[in-house]
């Protein structure tokens, strides 16, 4: 059945509408998950969870600048008062006295269920004697100041026991009763959002709320020069999203305008321009649809890659218009389509290799480009000819082509210089191979250096937890998790005593397992026994037993205290501490025990040895991050090689001639070497996206090299084809080159590598074209 133009157009339109409907319902994201592994190891899973929903990912650090110290402190108090009432914020801390009263009251009330010192021995004559004598000794010291008012109720010092385990970390500086920066010039606050770190919309709403409340607070206080600076993972996510959003539209616009200008200049026809953009629009849409269907959501960075796709996919319609003008549709299909198809296939090999990446961002980019290129090619082959009709009124590009024909023999003499240049480039790369790569995952992060600096400064000022070292235990339910936390905690206590670690946090400190609580409660003595024991224990003590009636009353009531549940902790900041360390994932639970280094750095092998066989997993987040990146890099290396191999195999099978294969590959390899050396010499630190860029130079560049191969088989390389190659190359270079303008490292790297690489691929292919086929 012969398709009519109208029917084809209708079909295309339907497909486009369906695609548009899918895109309309697609969720676009810009969070960290772009960089997080899709198949994480157990250690990486902890990293991923922490980044997505961990407490640290929900912390925002605030600094108030300007005004006088008292004004800043007043602002800090007022802001805390405002924010604490809002559902967007789980906790707002500014070091105000009294803000920890609720915690302290809770700890005091439940001290006999919470204190690890509680056991039957504690309430024997000897146990009481020792514990109370210890408290009295402590009274002699300034450290005992806080103990004194509670001595009659807590003579065994359980509260001290509890509090000494807390807050051993550095406390922020303080001015006028609230936290201040180290230089005292800024008031500091620490805010925890209700929204998860991965919920960028929630983070954005919370940050906007923060800013508007601060502005209102400053205005109410009449402080005109007060400024709020904030930082934290949530802000990074919000900023990155804004940057990416802004760049996607900006880059696509630049790329589109430049390419449209080139096409208008070449075609001198709006109709041809419109038709020529048909495969491009289809490709861009097809890419997003494929990603959306495969992944459920689309990363903003992926869409940003569209700028390059525009440049790449417009090539096909250029070839069609320019080349079919002379030969007609049938001739074009017979003579040029196989070459174009082979070019499409090499591109597919290049982009397709990325699909297998465990780095989700890379896999998405691959799928997006792959489906975009295929869609554009299919639309060019099957839709475009139907719509454009038989009589293309195309400007004759033969003059341009003939000029190019003259240039090609002239640049043959550059062969040896190019080889020499490539050799020099290769030598440079080899000698400086140690300094080529940026070894940090942060090299890929779209967070600006300025933002990172602010973050570091605020972090240092506030002493925010860095939770670099974690011990993680998984369990079937909450009780099992807490029991495991207690068991591992006992081991960690030993390490603390040995000085291997400075301390650790545990959810069981505020929410002991039911078993432990029951055991502690059972060890509390009956009133008569306690009285008797106290009498005996305190005979020679300056603290007479008869003065300890409040203690006896407290023990009696503690024997009937209900078991602590998670809900008992509500309205204290301890709830947050427990929630952040005791996590539920579907059916299973896990406990995090963050470790604090002691006097010396943590000895990782010794620690691992101590925990061996307990089922507890020790994680160094910083090491995991670097390992993650190295895994990506390693994988990207393999994928690039596999992609390259696939391209070589494809060409070998198609061309069936080692000589022709070599002739095509030589200029591509030289282009890669020269580009990479050039980037290195320009001071660009390479990361894994540059590596991917190298693969794409080969995948995209081969499209041009293939045309130079074609004529050697049967036809003479005519001027129109030459002209179409030049124009197609210009649009591709514009497309990829635009990405180089991006401040998002992932896009920038691909842009700076593939942009010049594609140009060099054409130039070098022309330089190295076999003499007999040149003209």
């Amino acid at each position: 059945m012969k398709m009519t133009a109208g029917r084809t157009f209708l079909l295309w339109l339907l497909a486009m509408l369906a695609g548009a409907a899918i895109v309309w319902n697609t969720r676009f994201t810009a969070d960290m998950s772009f960089f997080l592994p899709s198949h994480p190891t157990a250690e990486q899973q902890v990293l991923v969870d922490q980044l997505k929903e961990g407490v640290v990912s929900r912390l925002l650090m605030l600094a108030i600048e300007g005004g006088e110290a008292e004004q800043r402190a007043a602002l800090s108090r007022d802001l805390r008062g405002r924010l604490a009432k809002m559902p967007e914020f789980v906790s707002v801390q500014n070091g105000e006295a009294g803000s920890q009263e609720a915690d302290r009251a809770f700890l005091f009330k439940h001290r006999y269920l919470l204190s690890p010192a509680i056991s039957q021995e504690r309430f024997t004559v000897a146990g009481l004697k020792a514990a109370i004598a210890n408290s009295i000794d402590l009274l002699a010291s300034p450290a005992g100041m806080m103990l004194k008012p509670m001595l009659a109720r807590d003579p065994t010092g359980e509260l001290i026991e509890l509090i000494s385990g807390l807050n051993a970390g550095a406390q922020p500086n303080s001015r006028n009763g609230v936290w201040a920066s180290r230089d005292g010039e800024r008031a500091m606050l620490l805010v925890q959002t209700q929204a998860l770190g991965s919920d960028t919309d929630g983070q954005e709403a919370a940050i906007n709320r923060l800013r508007s409340e601060f502005a209102a607070s400053a205005e109410a206080a009449g402080i005109t020069n007060a400024k709020l600076q904030l930082s934290g993972p949530g802000l990074f996510a919000v900023n990155s999203r804004a940057t990416i959003k802004d760049e996607v539209s900006r880059l696509s616009l630049i790329s589109s305008i430049a390419i449209i200008a080139v096409l208008l200049f070449v075609y001198r026809s709006f109709r041809l321009l419109g038709l020529g953009l048909l495969p491009v629009v289809s490709g861009a849409l097809g890419g997003v649809v494929a990603v959306s269907l495969a992944y459920g959501s689309v990363f903003g960075i992926t869409v940003g890659f569209g700028a390059a796709l525009i440049g790449e996919s417009v090539d096909y319609s250029i070839y069609y218009f320019v080349q079919s003008g002379k030969t007609g549709l049938a001739g074009w299909r017979e003579r040029f389509w196989p070459t174009i198809r082979l070019g499409v296939l090499t591109s597919v090999c290049g982009f397709g290799a990325l699909l297998f990446s465990g780095f989700p961002g890379l896999a998405q980019l691959g799928l997006y480009a792959l489906s975009g290129v295929i869609t554009a090619a299919v639309v060019t082959r099957f839709v475009l000819p139907q719509l454009s009709g038989k009589h293309l009124k195309m400007r004759d590009l033969a003059p341009l082509g003939r000029q190019l024909e003259k240039v090609i023999p002239a640049i043959h003499c550059l062969r040896w210089p190019v080889i020499a240049l490539a050799l020099a480039a290769a030598t440079t790369l080899f000698i400086q191979r140690g300094e080529l790569w940026n070894p940090e995952l942060s090299a890929l992060s779209p967070i600006t250096q300025a933002d990172q600096n602010i973050d570091m400064a605020l972090r240092a000022d506030i002493g925010a937890p860095d939770s670099r070292y974690l011990v993680v235990i998984n369990a079937a339910d909450r009780e099992a998790a807490l029991q495991a936390a207690e068991k591992t905690g006992a081991q960690l206590d030993q390490l603390v005593r040995q000085g291997l670690i400075g301390g650790y946090d545990s959810p069981a400190r505020f929410l002991p397992s039911q078993a432990t609580q029951a055991a502690r409660r059972a060890s509390l003595p009956a009133e008569a026994d306690l009285r008797r024991h106290l009498q005996a224990a305190q005979q020679d003590s300056p603290l007479a037993a008869k003065k300890l009636d409040p203690f006896i009353a407290d023990i009696a009531s503690a024997r009937h205290l209900p078991t602590l549940e998670r809900a008992t902790l509500d309205n204290t900041s301890l709830a947050l501490a427990v929630d952040s360390l005791l996590l539920q994932h579907g059916e299973s639970w896990s406990v995090l025990l963050p470790l604090r280094p002691g006097e010396q750095a943590i000895d990782v092998p010794a620690l691992k040895a101590a925990l061996a066989g307990t089922g507890a997993l020790f994680i160094d987040m910083s090491v995991e991050f670097n390992k993650l990146y190295n895994d990506y890099l390693h994988e990207a290396t393999l994928l690039s090689l596999a992609g390259l191999l696939a391209i070589v195999a494809l060409l070998a099978v198609t061309l069936r001639s080692p000589r022709r294969l070599a002739a095509i590959l030589l200029p591509l390899v030289l282009a890669v070497v020269i580009v990479i050396a050039g980037l290195h010499l320009l001071g660009e630190r390479l990361h894994l996206l540059h590596l991917i860029g190298m693969l794409l130079i080969v995948a995209v560049g081969s499209n041009y090299a293939l045309f130079f191969d074609r004529p050697s088989l049967d036809h003479h390389l005519d001027p129109e084809t030459l002209a179409s190659m030049l124009i197609a190359n210009v649009t591709t270079v514009i497309g990829f080159g635009t990405l180089a303008l991006s401040s998002v490292p992932v896009l920038h790297a691909v842009g700076v590598t593939v942009g010049p690489g594609a140009m060099l691929a054409l130039l070098l292919s022309a330089i190295f074209v076999p003499r007999e086929t040149a003209a």
Binding site: D137, L139, S141, P142, N173, S174, P542, K547
Partner: protein
């Protein structure tokens, strides 16, 4: 301040040199000359809940202007080190470090000792009203907290001594408890 200077001027004019009243400025001047020293101390804490006073003994080591080390030897070994605004207490392998600039009340308290040791009148007068009695050989300096927050903790501090030697410091706390520290110099710098 001006009034005070005026008063002392008046005294200087009218009193005979031999009977020159010993004033705060003089005492501070004497104390400021001391560059440090080592002393033994006995501290008695009278706490209402306890039948007997708590007695602790040890050594103190002062290096002007802002390093004070107090080593308690009995009943339990404890080292308290005040270095500028960092206060650290080491006791049974536990070490607690407090930045005093975060704790204005505690800082005021510490300044009462440090200000006296170094003869830093300005530091003392920031938080206390000073009252001096006695002679250069046997003086008693009373510090009355001028700020409510400090007064809620300590009613008054009585420092007594001889020349530039502090011999005792007594704290009377707001809850009626008190502590007396007697100081016996071992060497001077």
């Amino acid at each position: 301040m001006i009034k005070r200077i005026f008063c002392s001027l008046l005294l200087a004019l009218f009193a005979l040199p031999a009977f020159a009243a010993f004033d705060v400025a003089q005492l501070m001047g004497d104390l400021a000359k001391l560059k440090g020293g080592k002393a033994k101390f006995v501290e008695k804490k009278y706490i209402s809940l306890l039948d007997k006073p708590l007695i602790s003994t040890g050594e103190m080591n002062f290096t002007a202007p802002d390093r004070l080390e107090k080593r308690t030897l009995t009943p339990k070994v404890e080292t308290l080190l005040l270095d500028k605004d960092m206060l650290s207490i080491e006791r049974e392998k536990q070490k607690l470090t407090i930045n005093l600039s975060n704790q204005p009340e505690a800082l005021a308290f510490i300044d009462s000792i440090r200000g006296t040791l170094t003869g830093n009148r300005a530091a003392l007068e920031k938080n206390y009203l000073l009252h001096l009695s006695g002679t250069q050989d046997k003086w008693v300096l009373t510090l009355l907290p001028s700020e409510q927050k400090i007064a809620a903790l300590v009613l008054r501090i009585i420092v007594s001594g001889s020349k530039n030697q502090i011999r005792s410091i007594e704290y009377l706390q707001a809850d009626g408890d008190r502590s007396v520290m007697s100081i016996e110099p071992v060497e001077l710098k």
